[in-house]
């Protein structure tokens, strides 16, 4: 790492990094005591560790809108038998957007896959090949049939805004794996943000540093203000040593007069981190460094898979470089381009399925090929399921009663399924799991006892799992 500072100076000069930054890297070179970013919240996170962790990093894939279980992973032959019969609730259940129609079978064919014989519909041909590596929660359930609260609940465990999401809790509890990149990165669909917009990635009452950093995978630079704009490139290139000394002196004099105030060191360290990010972030986001084979396996050349595929690949590159938690969203909020298939399952679901199926399979295979599966967890999730009754004649309405989540990777018992919905896939009946249980399990894999990770907020000890949550041991290796 000895190369770092002189190389950095050179690079900064070339990239028009600006006088001030150059000044700081100089300053830091002279002041070896601030190495390691002591005091910066990125570096300092207190690894909360209640038991040895199985997982160090996480990629969460979130299907916005409520991915239909009975058209993907929850095979319900009973729906074929009862197709067309008016057996649903007579009154419109709370949160349904319209009265329940007739029982509707899935328009897709199902087949069993792998050793585990897991049923998967024809919309997920690629993921179907990997079911033996996944662990399924087949009877997830939630408190709401409404997108906004449902998306909050799956992310923060609460129906209301203002609570930290899982990524923020993990950042808070575990800290970072690298100084060079953010700890919690969100990669939203290029067509827009999910329900609740950035509320889903909020740090709530935790320090703002734990908030998910939203990165537009196509923007340059991907991290805001990474470099000065060209407009100001004129500034500072010719700066010389005197300027560096001034800033060093200003800050040092000030620090000397305020011994014991570690915030001042932290601030100096934060400038070093900024310098590191300038060097590390651009290559992390540069997909051209990946082979053609990788590009094609993630489907980057096909328009239907390019966006999600690019973000899956980016997710792998980021966790590989030490980002702790990456969330990849499929679909924005709103009436189209997501998994909220009210109008026509047969028409609306397949394009969404196609857009994620191959990228997800490629991601899992890629992680495995690189050995990242040894400490990486992948979660596939959505905010709720859909009704076994038709909405209109061929769509499905929201249904919090039962939906599917799967986990893959480190610490997971491969090929298992936990929980069961009723014969229609309407309500979870056996081994029901809530977001609390999913969150408790994820924290458990990270070495954290979810009941012990709490923060006092206005006199209440708040947890990600509120007062609930059980680790789902049945799906753990």
């Amino acid at each position: 790492m000895q190369d770092s500072i002189s190389t950095r100076r050179q690079l900064l000069l070339q990239s028009g990094g600006g006088f001030a930054l150059l000044a700081l890297s100089q300053l830091l070179e002279r002041d070896s005591t601030v190495r390691g970013a002591e005091g910066s919240q990125y570096a300092r996170g207190f690894p909360v560790q209640h038991h040895p962790p199985r997982v160090k990093r996480i990629i969460q894939l979130f299907m916005t809108g409520g991915a239909s279980p009975m058209d993907t992973y929850d095979y319900k032959p009973e729906l074929e038998r009862l197709h067309g019969q008016m057996l649903g609730p007579k009154e419109k259940p709370e949160g349904f957007t319209s009265p329940a129609g007739a029982i509707m079978k899935s328009p897709f064919s199902f087949a069993q896959h792998g050793q585990s014989g897991r049923w998967v519909s024809s919309v997920f041909p690629e993921q179907a090949k990997l079911v033996d590596e996944m662990a399924f929660l087949m009877a997830m359930t939630t408190k709401t049939n409404v997108h906004g609260p449902g998306t909050y609940m799956m992310n923060s465990g609460f129906l209301l805004p203002g609570f930290p999401c899982m990524g923020a809790w993990i950042s808070y509890a575990m800290g970072n794996l690298t100084d060079d990149l953010p700890t919690f990165v969100v990669l939203p669909d290029s067509r827009g943000l999910p329900y609740n917009q950035k509320g889903c990635f909020s740090s709530g009452f935790l320090p703002p540093v734990h908030e998910g950093i939203v990165i537009d995978a196509t923007a340059k630079p991907p991290i805001p203000d990474l470099f000065p704009s060209d407009r100001f490139a004129f500034a500072s290139r010719s700066a010389d040593h005197d300027g560096l000394e001034l800033l060093a002196r200003i800050n040092q004099q000030y620090a000397e007069a305020h011994r014991g105030d570690d915030r001042l060191d932290a601030r100096i360290a934060s400038y070093e981190l900024a310098a590191k990010m300038q060097l590390s972030a651009p290559p992390a986001f540069d997909l051209s460094q990946e082979s053609e084979l990788t590009h094609s396996s993630y489907g980057l050349a096909q328009p239907e898979t390019a966006d999600f595929g690019r973000r899956c690949l980016l997710a792998r590159r980021l966790i590989e470089r030490g980002v702790r938690f990456v969330q990849v969203w499929s679909g924005p909020q709103g009436a189209v381009n997501n998994w909220d298939n009210h109008g026509n399952i047969e028409k609306e679901l397949p394009p969404m399925a196609v857009s994620v199926d191959r990228p997800i399979a490629a991601l899992l295979r890629d992680l495995k090929a690189r050995g990242l599966d040894q400490d990486t967890l992948v979660i596939w999730s959505t905010e709720f399921g859909r009704t076994p009754f038709a909405q209109g004649s061929v769509g499905r309405d929201h249904n919090g009663g039962s939906f599917v989540t799967w986990l893959w990777g480190a610490g997971i018992k491969p090929g298992v399924a936990h929980g069961q919905s009723d014969d229609w896939g309407y309500q979870a009946v056996e081994n029901k799991t809530w977001c609390y249980d999913l969150h408790a399990t994820v924290l458990h894999l990270l070495g954290i006892d979810h009941t012990q990770l709490s923060v006092r907020q206005d006199g209440i000890d708040r947890r990600l799992t509120d007062v609930h949550g059980h680790v789902v041991k049945e799906i753990l290796a």
């Binding site: 006088f19 001030a20 930054l21 700081l24 919240q41 300092r44 207190f46 909360v48 709370e94 949160g95 957007t97 049939n145 409404v146 906004g148 209301l160 805004p161 808070y172 609740n196 950035k198 509320g199 990635f201 909020s202 709530g204 320090p207 703002p208 950093i213 805001p224 203000d225 990474l226 000065p228 704009s229 100001f232 500034a235 500072s236 010719s238 700066a239 005197d242 300027g243 000394e245 001034l246 002196r249 200003i250 000030y254 620090a255 305020h258 014991g260 105030d261 601030r267 934060s270 400038y271 900024a274 990010m277 009941t451 012990q452 923060v455 206005d458 006199g459 000890d461 007062v467 059980h470």
Partner: protein, 970 residues
């Protein structure tokens, strides 16, 4: 750093120390908050998780239930399961130790640390909150009981007026406050820190009271004023500045989860549910601070300002209405398909914010169950909830899936509104009169000149009877249906035909006087067409092409032009101008020449609806179409002048506020003023018994006057703002202390409940609170008392001895340096640049690159990565009692690279050049004075000169803006 640390396990040794108690004798009341907390955090979850399935409310295997402490003591078939204080004798421990049958839990032995927890718990007396069942079951109303410990809690005791303590160092105190501080320091063997230097104090107090740095001129004036009153004068000047209210309003806005908008992007804001008028509340808060509105009144305004009479006797009281935006600018979801939930979330938000902001209580905990720690029952919560369910925040419940509508109230009174309505009516009348003048003028022009066509043949397809009068007008009667008239006439030879005219004429015999035959006198000409046969006898009939059509009057959506197409749905019609003559004029294409003597065949289709046929018409032809303005009569000039004046007066829209008024949510479960039932587990779908609207019983007393009229908000406000309420005045005094010193005397400013940390200086808190109430709840007097103290004047330097004895500065033996808030950093840069726009109030600007104070840069609930957020501004999704201070790389990136910062560096460099055109050393000195309030030393000056020589003033400016001295104050 002041992060919140995760709540760590309470060392078990602390609990072990209690085991000497003869535990069986311990009353539930006697358990400490810490023991109960331990139970809640560790034992209850453990029992619930491991045991409750088989030994709970639903199932009691072996006759054993762990539902209550009593049921454990009673035990099951094998005898008592629990002997408090004696783990070895407790069956529970024997079972989990797996030493003997039964081995519990049967699925596998518990990990040793869990067994140790249970053992410790029993050893220390098996703490269990009173009247609490293990869980899974529902509590029945009436279970709730206030414990002795709660009754004794300091914050619920009346406010005292303690004697000012005696101190040894009698020279140090500047006022009584100092004696309380010094007393504690002396007891700990410490002395206060020496006084800060004058510049440090001036910077401190100026930032503290205004959020801005002192200008170099203010520094000079203060440093050279050696009089006794110099400091006092500074404080007076600052408290009387507009900037004081702007800065202190921001503190308050943190507490009340204030936002300017939901959506950051102006284009995406949805008018109905957007909190567009929130800024009026912010401006009111600024104004209230600036005029030192007594804080008790400040409270009453916010909870029930809509019910306050206007102090000046006006019909309405705008400030009162605006202040209630405190309630309506809250945090709830937009509801989507579940609108009822918004209503219960709104009531919850209101209860929560009132609890936290004014009372320092977490009232909202009692939404789903009795408060676990504080004396607040679920019934108390729903007594309060009824008050907010009876208040009107949404216009109506709204439709599922749709947006909700915020209730907006006009800020002008009934008289002004009536006057406005009258003005609007007059304007409409004038516009109608002018339009009628225009129409008559047009009618006259469109019918001037030309020649009427005397029909040679008239045919009605529906079989109506046509009578042609002397004036060439044709009156239709008889059969009435969708009809097409065919008329023939010979073109007179005196005229070159450029226009065909269709006059629709009134007649007394027609319904409503005509000109149509429909019941209301209207008609619709769905298609008007014509052809001609030249007189040569050789040529066939030629269709006439029309290029334009106009009329003296056209009914909305029924223009004459639409009768030129084939669509039967539209056409020319004249409602409501019934009983009057009208004319439509059709312009013939210029390449169509109709020779004199031609036979003209005109078709008038009226296929829009039955009966909508013309009753009386006349055809004519014309060569020209005069156009002129209506004659300019004095009467018309009058009308126009009146119209313009009225339009001007009405052009200012009626000011609105997001005010809360009495009445529930129309269309919802609770549409009016009513008591509400307990919501079991907080769900509106599972309702329990109704609770009358009332105040919390322990806190407000058993004997409350029933809320007889209205929502009950005035009654609630009066109780909250009462000098006898033990919480309210203490809470605000502590907040003010917190904002001055960075830590409160109670270090949990929004929670004075049983889980809070008791005050470091309880006597001082009470003494200050008593003076505050005596001073008429004046915040400015409180500020004066605090900032003029020797305590506030202390330096931030700390001796090793003081640091060792009091590392957290709980005794306040020094001043705690702090980082500027996001707003102050930005405002400082703008002020130093000379760029700060002093404009006050009004809607917030869109982003931080505007030049106004940061208070006026929008805070949007759905945008969390703004500049302000990066520097730890409050999250408007929840009441914020304190800002955290984070120091992260993205802040450095912003200051280094954001175009705005570069712009500011440029402005700063330019300002320096303007201020000091010639002398470099002087100019550098000016930079230091503007930013740091001091002059550079010789070394700094020399280096700065060298920087300027090589990198220019922009670089120097930029480096100084990035420096620590700018953003940390002593």
């Amino acid at each position: 750093m002041k992060d919140r640390l995760p709540q760590l396990l309470i060392p078990l040794a602390l609990l072990g120390g209690l085991s000497w108690l003869s535990s069986a004798m311990v009353e539930a009341d006697e358990f400490s908050a810490r023991q109960l907390e331990q139970f809640e955090k560790q034992i209850r979850p453990l029992l619930l998780e491991q045991c409750a399935k088989c030994h709970g409310r639903d199932k009691q295997e072996g006759g054993l239930s762990l539902s209550t402490r009593e049921s454990l003591l009673k035990g099951g078939d094998s005898g008592p399961a629990l002997v408090p204080g004696k783990p070895a004798e407790s069956l529970l421990i024997k079972a989990v130790d797996y030493l003997d049958e039964p081995k519990m839990p049967p699925t596998g032995k518990l990990p040793p640390e869990k067994i140790a927890l249970l053992r410790q718990w029993i050893e220390s007396g098996a703490a269990w909150p009173q009247n609490s069942s293990l869980g899974g079951g529902e509590q029945s109303p009436g279970d709730f009981r206030v414990t002795e410990k709660q009754k004794q809690w300091w914050a619920f005791q009346p406010i005292q007026d303690p004697a000012v303590p005696a101190v040894r160092n009698v020279d140090w105190p500047r006022n009584e406050l100092d004696r309380f501080i010094l007393g504690k320091l002396e007891s700990a063997g410490l002395s206060p820190a020496p006084a800060a230097d004058r510049i440090a104090w001036l910077r401190r107090v100026t930032y503290d009271l205004t959020g801005l740095p002192p200008t170099p001129e203010e520094v000079d004036a203060f440093v050279s004023d050696r009089t006794e009153r110099a400091a006092e004068a500074v404080v007076e000047r600052l408290l009387n500045s507009q900037a004081y209210g702007q800065h202190w309003a921001r503190h308050w806005l943190d507490v009340v989860r204030y936002a300017d908008y939901h959506d950051f992007n102006p284009k995406l804001r949805v008018a109905s549910c957007e909190i567009t008028e929130a800024w009026r509340y912010r401006d009111w808060v600024v104004d209230a601070f600036n005029r030192d509105l007594p804080f008790d009144q400040f409270i009453v305004h916010q909870i029930a300002g809509d019910r306050l009479p206007s102090p000046s006797g006006e019909e309405i009281y705008p400030d009162g209405l605006i202040a209630t935006t405190f309630l309506s600018n809250g945090v709830w979801d937009r509801g989507d398909a579940d609108k009822e939930k918004i209503v219960s979330d709104m009531a919850d938000d209101n209860i929560a914010v009132i609890g936290k902001a004014f009372l320092g209580l977490t009232l909202e905990c009692a939404r789903c169950h009795d408060h676990k720690f504080d004396p607040i029952a679920t019934e108390d919560y729903y007594g309060l909830a009824g008050i907010f369910y009876s208040s009107h925040i949404l216009k109506e419940l709204g439709t599922k899936g749709g947006e909700y509508n915020v209730n907006r109230v006009p800020l002008i009174g009934p008289t002004a509104l009536a006057k406005r309505a009258e003005q609007e009516k007059r304007l409409a009348d004038i516009n109608a009169a002018l339009a009628e003048q225009d129409r008559l003028h047009r009618l006259q022009e469109l019918t001037a000149g030309g020649s009427p066509l005397v029909p040679s043949a008239v045919k009605s397809e529906a079989g109506a009877v046509a009578m042609v009068g002397d004036d060439a007008a044709i009156l239709f009667s008889g059969n009435l249906a969708k009809d097409t008239y065919l008329l023939e006439a010979v073109v007179p030879d005196s005229i070159r035909v450029r226009y065909l005219r269709l006059e629709a004429l009134p007649d007394a015999v027609l319904p409503a006087g005509g000109p149509g035959r429909a019941d209301d006198g209207n008609f619709v000409v769905s298609r008007f067409s014509a052809s001609f046969v030249p007189p040569d006898g050789k040529t066939e009939s030629t269709p006439i092409k029309f290029v334009a059509a106009q009329a003296d009057f056209e009914q909305a959506n029924f223009a004459a032009k639409s009768s030129l197409d084939d669509d039967p749905k539209d056409g020319w019609a004249v409602s409501p101008q019934i009983g009057k003559p009208h004319v439509a004029v059709f312009e013939i294409a210029s390449d169509t020449a109709i020779p004199a003597g031609s036979r003209l065949i005109v078709s008038i289709e009226q296929r829009h609806a039955d009966k909508h046929a013309l009753g009386k018409l006349r055809l004519s032809v014309a060569e020209t179409l005069p156009t002129s303005a209506p004659p300019d009569t004095p009467q018309r000039r009058d009308l126009i002048a009146n119209r313009d004046r009225l339009q001007q007066e009405l052009s200012v829209p009626v000011p609105l506020a997001m005010a809360v008024t009495d009445g529930g949510t129309p269309g919802g479960l609770f549409p009016g003023i009513q008591d509400v039932p307990i919501h079991i587990r907080g769900s509106y779908a599972r309702l329990g018994p109704v609770v009358p609207r009332r105040l919390p019983q322990f806190l407000a007393g058993e004997n409350q006057t029933a809320i007889a009229r209205g929502s009950g908000r005035p009654e609630l406000a009066a109780w909250v703002a009462s000098p006898h309420n033990p919480l309210t005045a203490r809470v605000i005094v502590n907040r003010v202390w917190h904002w001055h010193f960075g830590e409160g005397l109670v270090r949990t400013p929004s929670n004075f409940g049983m889980l809070s940390e008791p005050p470091s200086h309880p006597e001082l808190l009470d003494w200050l609170t008593t003076r505050f109430i005596e001073d008429g709840w004046s915040l400015k007097k409180l500020h004066q008392r605090i900032v003029s103290s020797a305590t506030y004047r202390q330096s931030s330097r700390v001796s090793q001895q003081a640091f060792d004895v009091d590392p957290e500065n709980k005794l306040i033996g020094r001043f705690a340096p702090r980082r500027l808030e996001a707003e102050a950093i930005r405002d400082t840069i703008l002020l130093a640049n000379g760029q700060l726009d002093p404009a006050c109030g009004g809607p917030a600007g869109d982003d931080f690159t505007i030049r106004r104070r940061s208070l006026y840069v929008q805070t949007a609930r759905w945008q969390r990565d703004s500049y302000a957020n990066l520097f730890d501004a409050a999250n408007p999704d929840a009441s914020t009692e304190r800002r955290v201070t984070s120091t992260v790389a993205p802040q450095a990136l912003l200051l280094l690279n954001h175009p705005w910062v570069h712009e500011q560096a440029r402005h700063f460099a330019e300002r320096l050049e303007r201020d000091v055109p010639q002398n470099d050393a002087e100019r550098i000195g000016r930079a230091y004075q503007l930013l740091f309030g001091r002059r550079p030393n010789d070394v700094e000056l020399a280096i700065a000169q060298a920087v300027v020589a090589s990198g220019g003033w922009h670089d120097l400016a930029h480096v100084l803006l990035c420096s620590n001295e700018l953003i940390y104050i002593d």
